[in-house]
Symmetry: D3
Subunit: 330 residues, 6 copies
């Protein structure tokens, strides 16, 4: 396990030396104003990102064989420039196998992945519709798919942008949907939960998360809505006797879950379950974005009277943390 | 109680005489193509509306003193013209006091109003925040306001457009909010429920529901958002020591509950409780609109393979009744 | 072959008796103002639609067993009501087998379907990319798919809304794309033509055209973009060694061909071939709509100085027929 | 009075020492590239803002007790970096009481506030409607409200963003409305002027202007439209016999003055007076923005052939100063 | 002069015979439900429009030679059908020369055209800029143009849709602009007034007003903005030494006067005079539309508590007549 | 001819001295952080732009008389700062007459201008409509206009932003239109080609291209649509007997070629030729933008798996180079 995380550095004494393991997310050679070449690195770990600078390219303490995607051990000191943290790197080498853990190198869910996974499986287990139960059991018991589902982030940036984020988002939605479903008797609970579990499954191929979070080229060209519906359709077509109307509804849940054409859904929700899914998905993503912003404000030491920065996924709105603001009043 | 309701007439034998009590929603003299004057009435009862025609103006069996807003007893026969039902009226007179019940004359909630009301009061009773509890107790114990709150429709058309509709919508939201609130620990449950109970309270003055459902002139010029926030502010200002920040938050809940500026909210939701309220309010209204459409399809005898008509409040979408459609397959 | 077509009736002497074969598109019982029941039918043939009325339900010359979807022989006379043509039906019976041809009953392309089909096949034959050639050959040699492709309309209303309309639209686009492709050397001609031939293939399941042109329920819920991409993907997955990147591009062509998210494409065109396809598809549909409007004006006897009615698919624009307008000047 | 203003510095010889009094709008410690800590200040006075840098934190000539909101006396020299002016501060201490005037520290109207105020009062005096006259007299004779009304800016940035800006904007509108009102006999002049005087009165609580111009948290959550209408309603409710319909109209004027829902008005103007108010308010704000831009161009030495920068409140339009451009031609 | 006007008929006893002169705006043969042919005419005079029906085509009292554009003398009786007035015509013949006045046949301004024209000329006379004065004098002294300018309506429907409407609208704007101009010293009054007088001058060729108000084909294809700017440019190019910059500004005033690209202005207002012109033009058109609606309500006998119908040019808003509504309260 | 071009510098050894001729696009004096004044220049040649810095203002090797618009000979070395190339200038003087060629100083078409011009003239020669042929011959034989037409860029930035860009774009459209026209028999080829050749002709006065590419003030206020239609109308009005309807159509082609009001066309295309022109113009501009982006990616050394940057004129889309991406797969 790592000793020092990027998030610790904010409180670190400037100039003091430290060692750390980081994932190299990007690497570029640049020149100073005085025409001196230097290396600029983007280093990451599970707590954030950091720019690193190597001023002496030929210093023998700097390994030449480091590339994007490597885990490195680096020694140096932190400084702050125009409010952003920077690391001056004095020594750097590739990490030896076993020295560092990839899971420490990317942000990842703070929940226990096994426990989240069990929640999904228990939900499927509770289905009364045998066709939907078989469909989900089939998909989730595919080892490659299950592994990817457990690892994938839910987004490149915005909400749940961390390893396990997809799973965490789905589990939150399962719980939420299970609370809401009984309130509207016209809803078919199993169909709604099927939509919850499958709506973003295309993200396992739309995104890559080995070295930072990126869209794959296929993901850019096709999108997780098409990818998820195609994967689901392929599985259904291999199941004997899956009812064709039920297949149409399951695919419709996936296709329409963004709720609006301009958000990339080729169809608007036209059944009650799809309408509810699109609402809950949107609400849960936004609530997570709000929670993120409040945490960021706390980390940055903002006072209870200060609003958050403008939040991109909430139309550039600023938000107020009710409990902290009221707390001050009491 | 009435014997014959407008909704019964669809299945009625055309031309057969019947008697009924109706509320006169509109009354106009017109002329036939052959220049013969006749009376055109819009008659309503709790199950719907019906055009009535009186061809012989001077028939002594037709009272001359009937005006808009009167309850009448009418005898005549039904016919269908261009798919709409029409009543040919042979006799008509004002109902005598006690003969008919106003509550039979306008559509009204199918739930027990007292029971709905008790749910609201129980919800308030469960509050832990003493200021919010006092605010709501104060408002809801005002007899005029309570009577209006119990009677008002939630809208002129669209969703919950019936007597008691406001209360029914609020009770649905209370249950829904109570299911959702525990899912997001950052939510202040009492503040959320306060928003639920007060968000549409301005409708008691925005709308009138004595003779059909109409906007008041004041309602047109000010809107229920301003009217509700003004009423709430006035009450708060009379409470000793109501915390000023809490007042701001309560008013913000009301002002922002439409969720978008273009829907008439002067402010976007900027606290988690307001964000959740705007989502749940929108979801509940849309689910009720869907339920209405499905009922209408059933009444009109549409088959399980037929989609609903285009639904105005759902962007002119057509909807499919999942359960009926799947039912056919099995 | 039919003797009298609906389009002929405009010039027909009112009241004069005629016989004709028609497809029953809809059938409903209604009542007159005087409460007399009558039958209202929507009758169609390849040249248009016509409302038919049967006033004497019990006339023995009116068969009781006629249903929606039947071809009937009807005798009666035409009249005009509020500018719309109507037929008063005196006699009506189901057509005997062989008496009438279904192909006369729905509007259909004025081109020779076999010849259109040969153009498509010749285009495929000209491909130099063996994978794309194999893909298209495989799909188009499926007899069910080929039959549907040859029969399907391109739309329910708007452009190319007739039997063979899909094929006609595709052939027009093949020619157009073959003219445009050499102009931009960066274009991969075979990929562009593959997109042209497959972009609307989902319409064979999105629409039904047996009794008038309708959306299927599956078509409403999934749309031809998803249906076409799923059908294509399924075929590709059965071909050995189809290059995965090429598969992505072919699917992207289908997914993005509407050119805008708000038109139901889940992805915008991101490769030159997809950009060109979306332009040409839109242009060809609009030019066909313009041609339709000009023909309609000619049929209705509008003068060269009169603009068309407002055209829905051209933002409610009115259009002017250049050649006719200039012709008058000369 | 101050000797040197920030606007003077543009023409100042770089490097030459000067003294000045400034308001500290913000204060932050940062580090140089070489990890040396320094202080960054935002200094303001009535003519503009300036970044100040203190490189030697422990220099005894730099007081340690300076905070945001203090007026300081600073000595140093100006330099220009990437087109922005910066001050290198060698000495700094808090201003002694009486040494500097707060009114010199924030931009403020160039008009005489007493004279502006008299114009408002004279306008009220000229009313013939006794109820509206009493309403305005009551509100404007409240000493706290009057003081705030005289001091408040009309906006945080955009138009009239200076002390007294609200009053200046209102006086401009009074004159303008008095010119326009007689042109449309259907207008009730007193109601229009009441709207002019009250439309932005909520800004006295929406904004704060002690240390720079900021939104209050309450202002962010409620907005000046709600705040102004609540304040007005509260006053009206204390007046005996204020006609209820007139109250509705006054509140409607305030609620609708932004003219469009998407600009935060919960109601569109529905009476002629509100329609005119929304036009004149918008026109006056835009004309002031244009005037500001032209002054800025003159200050920056732009030639008569150069357009202004893109103006945010005019849809990013660039503007041309007619008179200067034509002047060159003559 | 005419004795009976269409607006009088609303109060006319149904069935009573009357004579009147009307302009035939449209003429069409139709059939009744029972297949009887009849003539449908749209008749107009200065007070409105009326549908006329001739049931006996071969009645010798009905002239056969009446065409669209003729003035006729008709005798018949009025009736009301579905709230619309209709005339049953028993006799009809072309008016003899001198019997009726064309100026009675189309709605026209209620102001004296000579007096309006003198206001325009006096305004031009007051210019201090000799170039603009010469430009306007030159244009307005062209007899054909002057005649058209005095006769043209300002629109086909919407605002000022009557003979002399263009002139009336311009005169209203001259007065308004002369009230507003001194308020903003940066405005060049003569340039603003030039824009006022010329902004809609293209309407003299965009519209035709001989038989009702229609767009010409050229008007549809080019629009009054292009037509007006071309006419102005042509005149300027014939004036010796007209300053080229001033020409650019005058043309810019015309091009930008709709204020928004989506309203058909190819350029947004970029000089203060153009900004003011676009505001005042929009305001004056809307105020005239409001006045029209209020008059219509009065004519239709609506009460002071009733809002107007939805007004197309005001985003489907309903309006309230302040003075009438308040009047009731007092 | 120049020896070194700006595009060569990317591959140049940093710090190595070189000489070059450049056009001075802008010149400004600035100060360093340490208050030392320096000169900042924007230098351009046909391959791009470059920032140049002169640190020693009084160095005798730096001429004092250099101004914006001059061609200079400069000696210095290149460095890279924050990914942008910069030149440190040691010596600089004005170029002597004949030393450098202005055509080397601005980006210009890579095609032969004479050859492009001959294509336009040949196209006109092929017209069968004598009026349109005469119109174009007249315009293009005006030597000033022809010279400007051959030199003008098609845009300031975006597509075809180089000398000869207008001509290159038109020639591309001529070829494209000639390919498309025969596909739609309803098109009048000569009218379409007239639109192609004249649609952007207003750019010769909207833009200036002597010192970089800028909008003229007249161009900003009037736009190339008005300028082009005015120029065309003026020419037509001098031709004897040009048919007035044809004139209307030619002007309509120019006015409507942007295809949408919000893109600055005051009229939507209402004839088939205008519809086709607006499509082809848009397609050709976008395809050129795509080609530019692909070239830029190649220059910057991006791999075949990397998408382009977001493209402004394609709604911020990123694009993929089909051929390169597929090439890798094979």
């Amino acid at each position: 396990m790592k000793d020092i995380y990027i998030s610790d550095l904010a409180a670190f004494e400037e100039g003091k030396l430290f060692d750390g393991f980081f994932l190299v997310l990007a690497k570029q050679q640049r020149n100073t104003k005085n025409n001196k070449p230097y290396l600029n690195l983007i280093l990451g770990d599970k707590t954030g990102q950091l720019e690193g600078r190597i001023w002496e390219l030929n210093d023998p303490r700097i390994s030449k064989d480091v590339e994007r995607g490597d885990i490195v051990k680096a020694r140096g000191s932190a400084s702050r420039f125009d409010e952003r943290l920077q690391m001056k790197i004095d020594q750097m080498r590739k990490a030896a196998p076993g020295e560092a853990d990839l899971s420490d190198m990317l942000p990842s869910t703070q929940y226990d992945v096994d426990s989240l996974w069990r929640t999904v499986m228990a939900s499927v287990e509770s289905f009364t519709n045998p066709d939907l139960k078989l469909l989900l059991t089939t998909m989730l018991s595919d080892p490659d798919l299950a592994a990817a589902y457990r690892a994938a982030p839910a987004a490149k940036q915005l909400h749940h942008a961390w390893l396990g984020g997809l799973l965490e988002h789905v589990v939150s939605l399962i719980t939420l949907a299970d609370r809401v479903a009984p309130h509207y008797p016209m809803l078919d609970r199993d169909l709604l939960l099927t939509g919850v579990i499958l709506h973003d499954i295309g993200k396992v191929t739309e995104l890559s998360w080995e070295i930072g979070f990126e869209y794959t080229v296929e993901g850019m060209l096709l999108g997780h809505i098409q990818m998820g519906s195609a994967l689901t359709e392929k599985t259904i077509d291999r199941l004997p006797n899956f009812p064709p109307r039920l297949k149409t509804l399951v695919l419709h849940m996936i296709l329409s879950h963004h709720g609006k054409l301009e958000f990339g859904s080729p169809k608007l929700p036209m059944i009650p379950e799809a309408l509810v899914l699109s609402f809950l998905d949107d609400l849960d993503a936004k609530m997570q974005a709000v929670a993120n912003e409040f945490e960021k404000c706390a980390r940055e030491g903002k006072g209870p009277d200060e609003l958050t920065n403008k939040v991109w996924s909430l139309d550039q709105r600023q938000l107020l943390n009710t409990k902290r603001w009221l707390g001050v009043e009491k």
